[in-house]
């Protein structure tokens, strides 16, 4: 398909991606568009970027978004305090503003000599307008530093992966520029592979029983917080360490607190088991 096969992303040892997802990653790379990943918590959105970076061996730059993050933070920060400090003590270089421009994560990704993978994690955490503020930068892969009148332009277009938990709607203009992929909760078959990739040795019988119980819990209608992959892995870990006999897993639900974190959910499970 593509001319440069070395850039293609494939499932690695630790990260098991569905074929659909790998496809999406490769299309996004080929079209040079940001890839927007949405999905339930715990479906491995963040891990995807690590896997993409690891697969062709690229550097990964992570920009964690918080509710207070501004678009400017990702570009550059002008450290005025340091400049004042230096000027009071007569340090050299005070005249040179460029000395006090600190690049943010996006700036770092642009100025890298080699192609990097840039992960903008949980973009929906930030203010509603945040994605709009980055439109130009992500489209053109460049930005302008007013203080020094310089333009930072990407030497190698980074592979941009953006994750969202759908806490806020993202603006249309932003969405139009992205390739979108929704990670579904893995089917049992894929889930088996994912779990196995996390354990060196795992009894098939234990896995089977734990998965049966896990998917039954997920299928209960009134569960508020559905357990995710990471909870299943923690639970299996607990079961192994606790040395629980396989027969007891489904019936007695040992350590079920690892899977369900809310009191109401535990109650729901209890009630469902009564019948």
């Amino acid at each position: 398909m593509g001319s440069n096969n070395s850039d293609r992303f494939e499932t690695t040892g630790e990260y098991v991606a569905s074929e659909e997802l790998m496809n999406a990653v490769n299309i996004a790379i080929a079209l040079q568009k940001p890839l927007l990943i949405k999905g339930e918590p715990g479906t491995g959105k963040t891990m995807l970027a690590q896997a993409v970076a690891a697969s062709p061996g690229k550097k990964l730059i992570i920009w964690n978004i918080k509710s207070t993050t501004q678009a400017q933070d990702g570009l550059y920060v002008y450290d005025t305090v340091q400049r004042l400090y230096d000027s009071q003590f007569g340090e050299s270089g005070v005249d040179d503003i460029a000395h006090y421009i600190k690049l943010g994560k996006l700036g770092e990704a642009f100025s890298s000599e080699e192609q990097v993978v840039l992960l903008i994690d949980e973009i929906d955490k930030a203010d509603l307008e945040f994605p709009n503020d980055l439109l130009w930068e992500l489209d053109q892969m460049e930005f302008y530093i007013h203080e020094t009148r310089e333009t930072v332009k990407a030497k190698q277009r980074p592979i941009v992966i953006i994750t969202s938990n759908a806490e806020k709607e993202l603006p249309d203009a932003f969405l139009r520029r992205c390739i979108f992929h929704y990670i579904e909760f893995p089917e049992p078959e894929l889930m088996k592979e994912i779990v196995k990739s996390h354990f060196d040795s795992l009894e098939d019988k234990l896995l089977e029983e734990a998965m049966r119980t896990f998917y039954e819990i997920r299928s209960l209608r009134d569960i508020r917080k559905k357990p995710s992959t990471s909870e299943l892995i923690d639970w299996i870990n607990a079961l192994m360490i606790g040395g629980i006999p396989v027969e007891e897993i489904y019936k007695k639900l040992p350590f079920v607190g690892v899977v369900l974190k809310k009191d109401e959910d535990l109650e729901t499970l209890k009630n469902a088991r009564k019948y």
Binding site: M1, G2, E19, E20, N23, A24, I27, A30, L31, K33, L36, K38, Y78, T80, V81, R83, L84, S87, Q88, A166, E167, K168, E169, D172, L175, R176, R177, C178, I179, F180, H181, Y182, E184, E189, R224
Partner: protein, 415 residues
């Protein structure tokens, strides 16, 4: 060449923009779709559709546009299913096989329409089922695992018929016919999280309003001070606080019982959303009269006067009324229509009118809003109320519309 598909998608209610369409064209130019309809399905979906809530819509349009879902897919004999149950690893195809694959692909390309191809595949599939006697992996003709035959699973032939197993890429039609994304559709009723997301939109930062700059802006102060070589320069900014105040009114009449989970979800979402300046909740039975109850049980005496609410909650409150508007016409229109308590001289309709006069931003959320209520006699109450207060269905779409209506800036009424 696919431009009809673009218009079909738009007609199907998908807001596909020109930019996205051009991106898809670019993808086609770069050969990213190969010659496979399945790959085209995935590529076009990831470029054109930006929310899982619209996957279902997309699937429908796609299926209708490239319509030839093979109905016989399920009728595979048990024997063939058994052969397929054992999974084989996809091995790397040899040069010969690749050549064969290329030939197959060009053959498929030559076909004028997909209809023909699929019919052909279906026909041949039937024939193969009868002929095939042994398990078969790889190869390019028989039903089996791997290989380039259009029958069986893990194969590489485009748009073929999948029989059991897990393919690398599911055939487009197989995906569509599963209707996996139906649950995400927007016209479905809401869960708790969706409520929360919707209510997050209901905010108005006073920074956008005309208020004095009263909050110390530390960052700017530091910047400015440093810029002036250490000479202190204090900067202020407008405080950023949500100024939205909310008045929630729930119908807890008998006809609302089926929706109690929905209502409690809504209540909880509002309750947990700590970004509102103030939230007041009251209950009513079927329609609003001179008293509002403090509890959903609506017991006599456990109430406040509606007048008191008018006096104490100013006009900046946004009002959300949740109810099914199911009531007899006289309950709404007669000044003695309240069969559970006092009317105080006004009919329910007049009480509601007073609400609309006092509060500029008011919506009614109806869990069973009827599309065609007009012209049905027994729906008179609903029609009359919907004329008075903007009424939305209590679904994802409806709630979003309602929130939009509540946030819309309206010129303050002069009275």
């Amino acid at each position: 060449m696919f431009i009809e598909f673009f218009y079909a998608l738009r007609a199907g209610g998908l807001d596909v923009s020109q930019t996205e369409w051009l991106t898809l064209m670019e993808a086609l130019d770069k050969g990213l779709c190969g010659a496979s309809l399945t790959q085209f399905y995935y590529v076009s979906r990831m470029i054109l559709v930006k929310s899982e809530t619209e996957y279902d819509k997309f699937d429908r349009v796609f299926a209708a546009f490239f319509k030839n879902v093979s109905e016989d897919r399920e009728q595979v004999s048990a024997r063939i299913m058994k052969w397929l149950e054992q999974k084989t690893d996809c091995r790397v195809p040899t040069a010969e096989e690749l050549e064969q694959l290329d030939q197959n692909l060009s053959q498929l390309k030559k076909e004028d329409s997909r209809q023909q191809t699929n019919d052909q595949i279906s026909r041949m599939f039937e024939a193969k089922k009868k002929e095939q006697q042994t398990r078969h992996d790889g190869g390019n003709q028989w039903i089996g695992t791997g290989g380039t035959s259009p029958y069986g699973h893990s194969g590489k032939a485009p748009g073929g018929i999948r029989v059991g197993g897990r393919t690398g890429l599911m055939s487009a039609f197989a995906v569509i016919s599963q209707e996996r994304y139906r649950d995400f559709r927007l016209d479905k009723p809401l869960n708790y999280r969706q409520f929360q997301v919707a209510f997050r939109r209901l905010r108005q930062y006073s920074a956008r309003l005309d208020v004095p700059k009263s909050e110390l802006d530390v960052d700017k102060t530091v910047d400015e001070t440093c810029n002036q070589g250490g000479y202190l320069s204090i900067e202020y900014r407008k405080p950023r606080k949500n100024t939205v105040k909310l008045l929630l009114l729930f119908d807890s009449g008998g006809t609302m019982i089926p929706f109690s989970t929905l209502c409690s979800n809504l209540f909880e979402a509002v309750d947990k959303a700590n970004h509102f300046k103030d939230v007041k909740t009251y209950y009513f039975h079927n329609c609003i009269y001179s008293k509002l109850y403090k509890n959903p049980e609506c017991e006599n005496g456990d109430w406040v006067d509606t007048e008191w609410v008018f006096r104490n909650l100013d006009r900046d409150y946004r009002v959300i009324i949740v109810g099914d508007a199911q009531m007899a016409a006289e309950e709404l229109l007669s000044p003695t229509g309240n069969y559970r308590g006092p009317n105080d001289g006004l009919s329910g309709y007049e009480w509601l009118t007073r609400f609309t006069k006092k509060y500029r931003r008011i919506v009614w959320l109806n869990p069973r809003k009827h599309e065609y209520a007009k012209g049905m006699d027994w729906m008179e109450a609903e029609v009359r109320i919907a004329d008075l207060i903007p009424m939305y269905k209590l679904s994802v779409d409806g709630l979003n519309e309602a929130i939009k209506c509540l946030t819309r800036d309206q010129a303050p009424r002069k009275d």
